[in-house]
């Protein structure tokens, strides 16, 4: 009896990875620890809080798919937040009556500024063969320095109130505005990856760059798209988070590189490139949000939360290795 259940669990593990098991355990544990955990209100909270990580993880997934990664996503959040807020506040002060214009231009300026970091990453990786690790690590330092320099380390105030009201706290059809944004980006990325030739190119370049090149795929173009899109996602997350906080800050996003990579890896995105699915990454990001929310409700100290998160990341990688061994053993 136990043997059959064990075998069944093993097959399930091989097929789905570790994530469903982790979610199940987390929900059970937190539901027992706090009665507020399994309420609609709280779960909606989890959803809303996870939006930013979800969006960043989508971009990170592209970088991982292509066989690299992006350590500068945190910096991108920071620089988009700072530049977006500075432009928006400046325009708002200059023309207090055209609020919509200030918000639009500010938002675009922020996204553009963040994406610039991605362009730099793309040029380094695609044209100069710099390893994604070094390139994005270097850009993380460059971007963070610029963000601090622009603000002198102080938060940027003075954005129109409507910006926060709409993009940070707005609720449309009962669902928070940021969730709508994330949903839209999820759908767009899924369509791109699954239903267009370009999506197939990301998997091919990450899976085997030589095979991709000899099959006539534009490898450089794909790599450029990877890092530019990754940065654009992070920058959008940066602007949404800025709306929520009502200030432009250079210090937001410091935990994003680790958390976004963790979300992807827990969701089964291969660190060797070529494997990963959008819907799983969304689950991975939600899972991390769920854990953080649960630990808050259970009054676990924030310092310890970092310990848990790091451990989960390592556990996910170990589980992935064990899974590969199982796959090899039941390969027919």
């Amino acid at each position: 009896m136990f043997a059959i259940v064990g075998h069944w669990l093993k097959l399930l593990f091989v097929r789905l990875g570790i994530l469903p098991f982790l979610v199940l355990i987390a929900v059970l544990v937190f539901a027992l620890m706090s009665e507020n955990f399994l309420t609609t209100r709280n779960l909606m909270n989890v959803l809303r809080q996870s939006v930013y990580l979800t969006i960043v993880s989508l971009g990170q997934m592209l970088a991982l798919l292509s066989g690299g990664f992006d350590l500068s996503v945190g910096t991108i959040l920071a620089i988009s937040s700072v530049v977006g807020a500075l432009v928006m506040a400046g325009l708002h002060a200059a023309m207090p009556e055209s609020i919509a214009l200030a918000i639009t231009l500010g938002f675009l300026a922020g996204v553009l500024a963040g994406t610039t970091i991605g362009v730099a990453n793309a040029i380094g990786v695609a044209f100069f063969n710099v390893s994604p690790f070094m390139m994005s690590l270097g850009m993380a330092s460059v971007g963070f320095g610029i963000a601090l320099y622009l603000t002198g380390g102080v938060p940027v105030y003075g954005m129109p109130i409507e910006f926060g009201d709409i993009f940070g706290f707005g609720v449309w059809a009962g669902i928070p505005a940021p969730v709508w944004f994330a949903a839209l980006l999820v759908v767009l990325l899924a369509v791109l990856l699954y239903w267009t030739p370009w999506g197939r190119h990301f998997y091919a370049v990450g899976g085997n760059v030589n095979a991709a090149r000899l099959s006539g795929i534009n490898v450089k173009g794909t790599l450029i798209a990877t890092y530019v899109l990754c940065a654009a996602f992070a920058a959008i997350a940066g602007m949404l988070l800025t709306a929520r906080l009502d200030t432009g800050e250079a210090n937001i996003g410091a935990s994003m590189p680790l958390e976004s990579i963790a979300a992807c890896v827990i969701a089964g995105v291969s660190l060797r490139g070529g494997i990963g699915r959008v819907e799983n990454v969304v689950l991975g990001a939600l899972f991390i949000g769920l854990i953080q929310n649960g630990m808050n409700l259970a009054r676990i100290e924030s310092y310890l939360q970092t310990v848990v998160l790091g451990s989960l990341l390592i556990l996910a990688v170990v589980a992935d290795q064990i899974r590969l061994r199982f796959v090899a053993s039941i390969k027919d």
């Binding site: 369509v191 699954y194 239903w195 267009t196 030739p197 999506g199 197939r200 190119h201 998997y203 091919a204 899976g207 085997n208 030589n210 095979a211 991709a212 090149r213 000899l214 099959s215 006539g216 795929i217 534009n218 291969s270 060797r272 070529g274 494997i275 053993s329 039941i330 390969k331 027919d332």
Partner: protein, 504 residues
């Protein structure tokens, strides 16, 4: 052959079960001192599993192994070494950054007290290499050695301790002819010393040259053991596949060629691997490119395809000069090059057969509709091609790394069916592929030409050039030595130009 000796190694009833599959089913195998015993069979017949068992890399589920008449248990590679059994697999177990000498003693470092006995190891290494007649610098890091020299280091590792059984898994797969000769000389030396050799190869010519006996496996079962002199090609193929495959090479009755598709005019590559090559390929013909490893025969086509940079000369495709060739432009214009190394250059191993097959044709119907992929159309077309090529198992959604070598090769070659290609280049199309699949691939190549495509076959195996080409070029050191028409094509005419002009 030393028939009167007791077997050096005797395995009986070896069975190996993996969950859900029996890789070996009661296989018997024996090895006499001083003989070369060839293991023969299709991909997936159980050859690799058997040598894994013998070398201690895998433990059998049932069966017994005797050495010199005494029953032994082999639980690990270490146990096997202690018994004098060593294996050289296709994947070397060398640390590239370390020197040959350091690699030689990896895991069995000689010590002096608690320190490394460097001087002793150096003496030992020099002695072993000299004894084997290997001329290589033991202090040089392994990544700077040639593939053949790396193999020498791998073989030399087996001689750290007393060696009685040496297992070689397709050792000549990536060696040049000259290097192969060196290996054969070594094998003769070893057998003269009474070492028994288990040898896996798909190449009939090698079996003839160095083999004493052949054991054929099929679907994990023992089929037969016979002396090499009794084993002609037809018998072996029949034993291996269990059926009559018919002629390995198909009939070459092709209509006269059509217009010129590709022309090279004094093309040289930046790396100097190709020098002033002029040649052409016409629709409906199969042009063979022959030459030694390193003769530039692959590089000529890679240059035309845009995979390596050209420094001088002109490439004309369908009559129009191509200013700067690139694989991207080439594929778009209907020119496909399929590389010899399917694992590293051809396939995306962790993705499905479907995605791998359609990779070069995602820009056109039935794979694409407007700006989106047509997943239904893709599934239908790939399924159709998979059935046509007898993909086994016929499950295009499985990832490529779960298929045997022959089926992986089929998956890559299937790309040429995904859209209309005017020029298809097959670079070593049958590397590591068993004879049954090989015959299928040859038929496939000829059908492509019959359908009107211009076809180029690049091969280091002379029979492929002789039997498949309607016209052939022989290359030596990056230059074309000869162009030979079908009527003139023979082993002598090709070999005459294989080596330096005048010296052969």
């Amino acid at each position: 052959m030393n028939g009167d000796h007791a077997p050096l190694l005797a395995a009986s009833g070896i069975t190996k079960d993996y969950p859900g599959v029996r890789a070996l089913d009661g296989v018997d195998f024996d090895l006499l001192p001083g003989e070369v015993h060839v293991l023969f069979g299709e991909n997936g017949a159980g050859k690799s599993t058997l040598i894994s068992v013998l070398s201690g890399a895998a433990r059998p589920s049932a069966g017994r192994i005797e050495m010199n008449g005494i029953s032994v248990e082999i639980h690990s590679v270490h146990d096997a070494r202690a018994l004098g059994i060593s294996a050289v697999f296709q994947e070397f177990s060398l640390v590239p950054q370390m020197s040959a000498q350091e690699n030689l003693f990896l895991g069995e470092e000689r010590r002096k007290g608690m320190f490394l006995g460097t001087a002793e190891m150096r003496r030992e290494a020099t002695r072993i290499l000299a004894e084997l007649g290997f001329l290589l610098d033991a202090k040089r890091p392994v990544h700077r050695l040639t593939r053949a020299e790396q193999q020498m280091v791998e073989i030399a590792k087996a001689f750290r301790s007393e060696l009685s059984v040496l297992i070689l898994d397709e050792p000549t797969a990536s060696l040049t002819d000259h290097e192969t000769e060196q290996l054969f000389t070594l094998i003769r030396k070893l057998t003269a010393r009474g070492v028994g050799i288990v040898y896996i190869t798909h190449r009939m010519a090698e079996i003839r040259r160095i083999g004493n006996r052949i054991t054929v496996l099929r679907d994990g079962r023992y089929v037969a053991t016979l002396p090499v002199k009794d084993a002609d090609d037809d018998t072996l193929v029949k034993l291996m596949t269990g059926r009559d495959v018919g002629a390995v090479f198909p009939e070459l009755a092709l209509p006269p060629p059509g217009r010129e598709i590709l022309a090279l005019d004094r093309v040289s590559t930046a790396a100097g691997t190709v020098a002033e090559v002029s040649m052409n390929v016409r629709a409906g013909e199969i042009v063979g490119l022959a030459g030694l490893v390193g003769s530039g025969k692959s590089e000529v086509m890679q240059a035309a395809y845009g995979a390596i940079p050209i420094s001088a000369g002109e490439v004309r495709y369908r009559g129009k000069p191509v200013r700067k060739p690139s694989p991207r432009m080439a594929v778009r214009e209907g020119f496909l090059y399929m590389p010899p190394d399917r694992k590293n250059e051809g396939l995306i191993m962790m993705r499905s057969v479907r995605e791998n097959m359609s990779l070069a044709a995602l820009n056109c119907a039935p794979f694409r509709r407007g700006m989106f992929l047509d997943l239904g159309g893709e599934r239908a077309r790939v399924g159709q091609i998979a059935r046509q090529l007898n993909l086994n198992p016929c499950q295009p959604e499985r990832s490529v790394n779960h298929f045997s070598g022959g089926n992986q090769q089929k998956t890559m070659l299937a790309r040429s069916l995904t859209k209309k290609f005017d020029l298809i280049v097959f670079d070593e199309p049958t590397v590591g592929v068993d004879v049954g699949t090989r015959a299928a691939i040859y038929r496939f190549i000829v059908e492509q030409a019959r359908a009107g495509s211009a076809v180029v076959v690049i091969s280091s195996e002379l029979p492929e050039i002789l039997n498949l080409s309607t016209r052939a070029y022989v290359l030596y050191r990056g230059r074309i030595q000869a162009e030979i028409e079908r009527s003139e094509l023979s082993e002598e005419t090709v070999l005459e130009h294989y080596f330096e002009r005048g010296s052969a």
